[in-house]
């Protein structure tokens, strides 16, 4: 049994070079005085995100209206992760070879995972910069939006060995949570059963909970061995492949395993999600044996689907966008892919009583039915199932907007003020803009043929906290017939004794606390205040409900709450979350997708980013 240390133990100080930038003018950031901006580079090796930013619009005023944070490379990665080489008897052959051959020799080139860990450059935060003090002028211009790097869903980025997660409840001596074990979640299922979506979503949720998790998609490794400009051997996905193709498949798998074991052995990883087809009972048994020999426990999650319409929708939305099908007619591509899958169907063996001693979760038709076997009252399996019950292949967007300005220049937490005139104007512009935007988007979808001409628009619901400013901001939606719900979990971060104080006063009154805060702005609590971490823990029910709801959700809340929710959806690292910025003149939209989520911004006309309304 592990000994658990009191929680939450702050992560080690990041740098002696960090300094607080005091902020002269608070009027624009009146309710955000707990954010101190730090300079200097990160001393912990934070792997840089992929530098490919080909479709990142830049931060000039013209291009900010529609802002996609998605990376081209990732779009390509949405290809067929599923058509992995683990078919037939390949798996067991592979394992016997693995035992005798030096693993590293089959590793022909560094994976993106490895590259990011091996980087010899001084590590930078995403997007190539670390937190900088905000120039005073930035508040007047719209250049002060997000650090561009956090516009990218980081769910595929590796974690540093000392990583602490947004909602991590406590740490243990070994740096792992809840129980002594290392766990490999092995995904099983035929292609186009939503395995990758499952692997990515679980990784997001488990990282959030504080379990150090990384997903290893076998399909990504195949693409490294066979780059887009090279032909995949014709028989790569065939059962009776040629000897050279079988060898290629085994090299792909070995490379994936190298990274997987490195994650456990050298990077303090706790849960690896191994995303591959894993089609045979014999192969799975060999895999369990091998992982157990490494001291790793196995939890299987099998995705089963017997509804052709779900499979076809999956193929259409994810698979045929793969480079393999560039230039194909859509219907022919779907047909071809379905034929390729059908070759595997007769070989595939579902998990049943012959594997009853294993811990497994079977997921039927994207969560319609869930079966748990041999997982009794385990924290992790229970958490996963709770999550899976609410997980859908989410279609609805999540919009984030700030509450309007209030009657107090620097609103005190304890006074819970009402909206002022400017705030009321804001709430009207917000409602009008979003409703109009959604109408146009819906029409565009019909225009593109994505929706039937008579399709109903997706429903919108609004969540607020129980604080007056958020409720009053939402009232304009209520007047327009949109359902609004108050949720106490969405209340802003409690400022404790710093309530109503400006940055300078805080620095003067609590110099030691400020020094601590700069070291760990995510976990540090000012006296009697909440930390971002506390906020993340209390918002977990909201996050699960957000995953379940199929309609679009607008969340109107304090910036501290928006930061944490955005951090979940975009897999931000804890040190990034406190520095996220949300302008007052825009709605941030998160568009969900299987491999990674995307960000878009909607500008509110007539509302300057951070000052008075010009109407």
């Amino acid at each position: 049994m592990l000994s658990l240390s009191p929680s939450p133990s702050p992560s080690p100080p990041r740098s002696p070079a960090l300094s607080v930038e005091s902020d002269d003018d608070h009027s624009d950031d009146e309710d955000d005085h707990l954010t101190f901006y730090v300079t200097g580079s990160s001393p912990t090796p934070i792997p840089s995100r992929s530098s490919s930013s080909s479709i990142h619009a830049h931060h000039n005023d013209e291009s900010r209206e529609v802002f996609f944070g998605q990376d081209l490379q990732d779009q390509q990665l949405q290809g067929e992760h599923d058509l992995s080489p683990t078919q037939g008897t390949g798996l067991s052959t592979y394992h016997s070879e693995l035992a005798t051959s030096p693993i590293t020799s089959v590793f022909s080139g560094p994976s993106s995972y490895m590259r990011s860990l091996m980087s010899d450059q001084p590590p930078l935060a995403r997007g190539g910069g670390y937190w900088r003090p905000r120039p005073a002028s930035s508040k007047r211009s719209s250049n002060s939006s997000f650090n561009p790097s956090v516009n990218k869903d980081a769910i595929h980025e590796p974690l540093s060995p000392t990583h602490m997660s947004p909602a991590q409840l406590y740490t243990t001596a070994s740096g792992q949570l809840f129980h002594a074990g290392k766990i490999c979640i092995v995904i099983a299922g035929l292609p186009a059963r939503g395995k990758t979506h499952l692997a990515v979503s679980l990784t997001r949720y488990l990282r959030w909970l504080g379990v150090k998790t990384h997903a290893f998609h076998l399909g990504d490794y195949r693409r490294q061995f066979i780059p887009p400009n090279m032909e995949v051997p014709d028989d790569y996905f065939m059962i009776d492949a040629s000897a050279s193709t079988v060898m290629l498949r085994q090299r792909v798998m070995a490379a994936c395993k190298v990274d997987l074991y490195r994650f456990f052995d050298s990077e303090n990883g706790q849960v690896a999600v191994y995303d591959a087809v894993n089609p045979t009972a014999a192969g799975r048994r060999v895999l369990v044996k091998e992982l157990n020999q490494h001291g790793i426990q196995v939890l299987f999650i099998e995705s089963i689907c017997d509804r052709p319409e779900i499979i076809e929708a999956n193929v259409r939305s994810v698979k045929i966008s793969s480079p393999d099908y560039a230039g194909w007619n859509e219907n022919e591509a779907v047909e071809d892919y379905l034929t390729r899958i059908s070759l595997k169907v007769p070989l595939y063996e579902s998990m049943d009583m012959h594997e009853h001693e294993f811990s497994y979760i079977k997921l039927y038709n994207a969560g319609e039915r869930i079966l748990l076997n041999n997982t009794r009252v385990g924290y992790l399996p229970n958490r996963i199932v709770f999550y899976l019950m609410n997980l859908h292949i989410k279609k609805g967007s999540v919009y984030f907007a700030r509450a309007g300005r209030s009657t107090e220049r620097r609103p005190k937490y304890k006074s819970d003020p009402h909206l002022n005139e400017e705030g009321t104007t804001y709430s009207k512009v917000l409602a009008d803009t979003l409703i109009e935007y959604r109408k146009k988007e819906h029409e565009a979808r019909i225009g593109d043929g994505e929706l039937e001409p008579n399709a109903e628009p997706r429903e919108l619901i609004v969540w607020t906290s129980t604080r007056r400013r958020t409720i009053e901001t939402a009232s304009e939606f209520e007047k327009r017939g949109v359902r609004c719900r108050q949720r106490p979990q969405l209340s802003q971060m409690h400022p404790g004794l710093t309530d109503g104080l400006g940055t300078e006063e805080i620095e003067r009154l609590y110099p030691d606390e400020v020094a601590e805060h700069v070291k760990d702005p995510y976990r540090h609590r000012f006296p009697r205040a909440e930390s971002y971490h506390d906020l993340a823990v209390r918002m977990e029910p909201v996050i699960l409900e957000m995953e379940r709801i199929s309609s679009d959700i607008l969340i109107i809340a304090h910036v501290s709450v928006l930061r944490v929710l955005y951090g979940y959806l975009m897999a931000c690292l804890p040190f990034e979350i406190p520095a996220l910025e949300f302008e007052r003149n825009e709605i941030v939209e998160i568009i969900p997708s299987a491999y990674n989520n995307q960000v878009k911004r909607i500008v509110l006309p007539g509302i300057p980013p951070n000052s008075s309304v010009i109407m």
Partner: protein, 425 residues
């Protein structure tokens, strides 16, 4: 005031228990009701057996024989009466989750119940407890059933035998749930396998998650307030004060007091982030966890004041709080309802864990105690929980047993009666 709700507007759910007798159905039903009511979800259990007993107080096994048509008729009448009452409750009292506690072991019976609910726009969630482990079944019969009202005043051994025969009659017609259009959760042999089908709402997922975290291993929970603090001595509320000398004495005696009650059972101690609970727990030789969620109710603008000062400065607030202490939210602070919301993960984790000791604060302790002891919301904020007292809770099948162990260290009273601003002597 923003009420706390899990559920979308107008959602009503009927949880239909399914399973042979002695499968722990009533226990599960009661726990669901307690959990939901504690979270302010309007929930109520309708036990068909209680309706049947009105007509047939002490039936023999023959009554339950499927070939006994009179018995069959009476049981159907009882089920109809229970459902009629439940529908009335959904309608007149805006119920959210009604629990129909009966065997419901045939497909025909379940179709009938589901049909009635559908007519009334009520979602059904079937909860089946399936068990073929004879040892578990007999243990449940001996623990619970022979003390059932059906067997009052009868010989326990005879009762157990009769009960086993009653179950045989049900077994003849038992059909497990396999209709995949229904929303259901099936718990096989106390959770060694679980099947979850077509969960329709977040509230249903919450109920299922709760059921998955329940276990039947014997265990205890110990609760203690922090030792007397400097603020307690001065009659102030909230704050983050140090312990008083007498409070420190309680901290020193707590390990011995704990050991007398806990023995050598393994134990984990949970504290809040405030100094007074950590100082209280600091000599306890067990592993410790700190939870922000265990911090005291936030009194907002009234933090650090005495009750007299609050009455003087905020007379209206003071009386509003007495009117409805559960819902009253301190200006810029929290209500009891808010505290319950943030304690929910604590309760979930407590259900999953075994022996736990919690060192926390008056309001938080009242909320946790209210969960285990089923104390209604109009009473829970007024419960007297003295300082320097260790409370032992032992959850049993039909309720929780409480033992209070007083340390022999005097402390001020922090109990304020309704309508008064002075603390009880």
């Amino acid at each position: 005031m923003g009420g706390y709700s899990f559920h979308a507007d107008n959602l009503q759910i009927c949880v239909v228990m399914v399973g042979l007798p002695a499968r722990g159905k009533s226990l599960i039903a009661q726990k669901i009701v307690r959990y939901l009511k504690w979270l302010s979800v309007n929930a109520k259990c309708f036990n068909v057996g209680n309706y049947r007993r009105i007509e047939t107080a002490h039936p023999t096994a023959d009554f339950f024989d499927v070939t006994n048509s009179e018995g069959e008729r009476l049981r159907r009448v009882a089920a109809e009466a229970a459902i009629a009452d439940m529908l009335r409750w959904f309608d007149e009292e805006q119920g959210t989750v009604g629990i129909l506690d009966a065997t419901n072991t045939t497909r025909a019976r379940r179709t009938w119940v589901e049909g009635i609910c559908r007519q009334h726009d009520i979602e059904t969630l079937f909860v089946e407890s399936w068990c073929d482990d004879e040892d578990l079944i007999m243990q449940n019969i001996i623990d619970v059933k022979t003390t059932s009202p059906d067997y009052v005043g009868q010989d326990p051994e005879q009762s157990a035998l009769d009960f086993r025969n009653r179950i045989r009659n049900y077994e003849k017609v038992y059909e497990t749930i396999d209709d995949n259009d229904l929303t259901y959760v099936k718990l096989v042999n106390v959770g060694s396998q679980v099947i979850i089908n077509r969960i329709q709402s977040y509230l249903e997922s919450r109920i299922v998650y709760y059921l998955m975290n329940l276990h039947i291993k014997p265990r205890c929970i110990w609760l203690s307030r922090h030792g007397e603090s400097q603020f307690n001595v001065e009659g102030k509320i909230g704050g983050d004060a140090n312990l008083s000398p007498r409070g420190r004495e309680y901290a020193r005696q707590l390990p011995q007091l704990t050991r007398q009650s806990v023995g050598d059972r393994p134990l984990t101690v949970w504290t809040s982030t405030l100094k007074r609970t950590q100082q209280t727990a600091k000599y306890l030789p067990y592993r410790q966890l700190t939870w922000k969620a265990l911090d005291e109710l936030d009194a907002g603008q009234c933090d650090g004041l005495t009750y007299e000062e609050i009455e003087m400065k905020y007379p209206e607030d003071f009386h509003a709080r007495d009117e409805n202490k559960y819902e009253y939210r301190y200006p810029g602070g929290e209500s009891y309802r808010d505290v319950v919301t943030r304690l929910e993960p604590i309760i979930m984790e407590l259900e999953r864990q075994e022996n736990i000791m919690i060192v926390t604060h008056q309001a938080v302790l009242r909320c946790i105690y209210a969960y285990f002891m089923n104390v209604p919301q109009d009473r829970s904020p007024w419960m007297e929980v003295p300082l320097h007292t260790l409370i032992k809770l032992e959850p049993k099948a039909y309720g929780t047993e409480v033992t209070r162990i007083k340390a022999d260290i005097p402390a001020v009273s922090t109990y304020r009666e309704k309508g008064s601003s002075s603390l009880k002597k």
